[in-house]
């Protein structure tokens, strides 16, 4: 096991460095075109930007996020659940402050899957006026094979 249960539980409440995220118009166009949605370079943004902003502004790379949970990409971490909450429409071109933390950790054992950990984290996208525009909650599943 790459990480003890005590180390895992100590992650709960740990804040991310955070940062900022700008919904770049060209990027918004390309990301929406890639999924069959309406490409646009202005106006209300796709709520998917809440997820992209959370991951882009949490202040860690995906590899660093996995390392926090004692894992690497080679261990096969998987997306478990994802939730987007759009409290007010996000705007293409606007810059948001991103802040958040690990909110839950759970160790489970399945008959087939063996031991695995579920790490849940939540990030907020804060608009320039200080109001939270979006909340992204995600959980990753980390198989623990040894």
């Amino acid at each position: 096991m790459q990480i003890s249960l005590e180390e895992l539980e100590a992650l709960k409440g740990q804040s991310f460095p955070g940062g900022t995220y700008t919904i770049e118009p060209y990027r918004h166009w390309l990301m929406n075109d890639a999924v069959g949605d309406i490409p646009s370079t202005s106006g209300p943004a796709s709520p998917m930007e809440i997820y992209y902003g959370a991951m882009g502004g949490l202040g860690l790379t995906l590899d660093e996020l996995f390392a926090l949970a004692g894992a690497t990409a080679a261990d096969g971490p998987m997306f478990g659940e994802a939730e987007l909450e759009q409290r007010r429409p996000l705007q293409v071109g606007e810059t948001y402050t991103v802040r958040g933390a690990v909110t839950d950790v759970v160790r489970k054992e399945g008959r087939r899957a063996g031991v695995f950990d579920i790490v849940t984290f939540q990030l907020e996208l804060v608009a320039p006026d200080g109001e939270v525009a979006g909340v992204s909650t995600n959980s990753f599943v980390f198989p623990r094979r040894d």
């Binding site: 709520p47 998917m48 991951m55 997306f79 939730e83 987007l84």
Partner: protein, 132 residues
């Protein structure tokens, strides 16, 4: 919109591998399963690139945005990832209205949502709230 109504589905006839490359670059996602067929083969995952999970969510957002009259009217989306989508797959994003309620002067619909791959194989499932 009424309880029990099915939303207009969004059909992607063939998930494009090229879009996965664009998204990998834009998301700074180094995982080769999204763009390198040889890596997919080496991992025993088949012979086609694997779509990014957020792309699969994006199909549901596109479907919901059209049904709601704008993406800004999607208040919440929660999904569980149940399986992979591969390049060339046909996928259909679907939704069904489960309930409608008034809250703070707004009319909101709770919608069951899912993404089908091929013959009714659900690879993504969850719920959404949209403003009517």
């Amino acid at each position: 919109m009424q309880i029990g109504d099915e939303l207009e589905p969004l059909v992607i006839e063939s998930v494009p591998a090229e879009a996965m490359k664009t998204v990998a670059a834009l998301l700074h996602d180094p995982n080769p399963i999204h763009f390198d067929v040889e890596s997919v083969k080496a991992l025993g995952m088949g012979e086609r690139p694997v779509n990014q999970g957020p792309n699969n969510m994006g199909y549901l957002v596109a479907m919901l945005g059209r049904a709601a009259g704008g993406r800004e009217r999607i208040r919440r989306l929660r999904v569980r990832f149940l399986g992979n989508v591969f390049a060339g797959d046909r996928v259909v994003a679907r939704g069904k209205v489960e309930s409608i309620e008034e809250r703070d002067g707004e009319r909101l619909a709770e919608v069951e949502v899912w993404l089908e791959r091929g013959d009714e194989d659900r690879v993504l499932a969850g719920t959404a709230t949209i403003l009517l």
